[in-house]
Amino acid sequence: MRQRSDREKLMVRYLLGEMTDEEQARVEEQFFLDPDYLEELQALEEELVRDYLQGRLSDRERKGIEVVYLDSPHLSKRVEFSISLMSHLSRLRTERREERVSWRQSLLASVRLQRPAVRISLATACIIMFVAAPALLVQTLRLSNSLEQEQSQRAALKQNEQELQRQLDEQRLRADQLREQIDRLERQRGLLEDELVRLKRAQSIIVSLALSKGSVRGAGAPPKLILQPDAKLVRLELGVESKVEYASYAVRLKMVGGDYIRVQISPRTKRATSGKIVILSLPADIFATGDYLLTLVGVSASGVEEDVEDYSFSVEKR
């Protein structure tokens, strides 16, 4: 075993726990202050452990290692790692050697075959192999080229397939979007149909009739108001040609052959192309099937009333 320098000897003593407290503290202080010293110390430790595992240490050093390293969990881990590493390296080396040996042995064994006929065959095979080698090389190159071509074709096909897949995905996405749009339109149509029903229903609830001067008695068939069972309100639009302004209006309603009903209302008025229109709403239940005569009464600011216009219409209750 090679002689160690004094510096190494000091480090080995530290590593084997052979120092006094003062000496140990001095080494510790040194490696605390100088990282290179610590690296050197740990590198020497590697060697010491390796030599221990290889059985190259003196008895004193071997015992020192066993006391210090195998007693400390942290330090024993280092030894364990070195053991694992050594055994793995050794296994790798053995495997490598075995591979080499088995290849060589099998070749030699083939050559050492006893039967001459087999030897001749082998020799012939060798000659053929050497002669055929260039042809084989050319063939290999050709195969290699065709393999490359096939690979590039396969890559192109794969790319094509990916593109098709992408298009398919896009179409699926578009179909989903369209389906969503159709659903949305269907929902809107449903809402519109509901609205239509509601409006129709509203129309049957409120029945409108426009009455003008032409609907006065004696001017042909009177306008007809058809009241469905669910009708609640009758909205009458009365065309007024008179230019006289009144503060308010009232109506008198009479069923032909019956009594007058005075209906006190505050009709709205709106301007029309000729004159104005008085709009009034009456409950549907005051009407029965028959002919009606309606008189619009103008009320002045002083409360004086005068008849403005007469309208006739018929009602049919269903």
Partner: protein, 169 residues
Amino acid sequence: MMSSDNDWLDPDPARAEEKYHELRRALIEYFARRRCRDAEDLADEVFSRVVEQIKKGTRIEKEDPRRFAYGVAKNVYREYVRKDIRGEKILQEISFSSTIPVPNNPDACIKECLESLDPNEREMLERWFLDQDDDQMEKDMGISRNSVRIRIHRIKKRLEACYDNCKRQ
């Protein structure tokens, strides 16, 4: 340890990180050689105490962070011995997790890490560990025995780091 906690080692974060690892190695060595259990946890305890003292206003001279840490390490060690004698473990007061999971296949990790080495480095390790020809290695490499050892040590350190990492995965 956060980089901001390493400012006392060096104002440059990269250098501070490097110095942190160097100092941690020294601390682990110190506690391991003094036969402390959980040397790594004690090393971390030193760092946390140093940072605590700095936060309390203790000033550390630029040249002295390692010396300062050494002083703290001696205190931690003294406490460790006292508590150890009383049958307590200092580390029970500190919530550390020092459990290293047992690898499923340690051999696979060593193999994987060996393969990650440069072939020359692998060959060097093989030769150093299996052959008894240190003198020849020195000659072949044209460097001193100490340099060979240090090279081996550096390779093995990387290998150990790779192995630990592999085991954790």
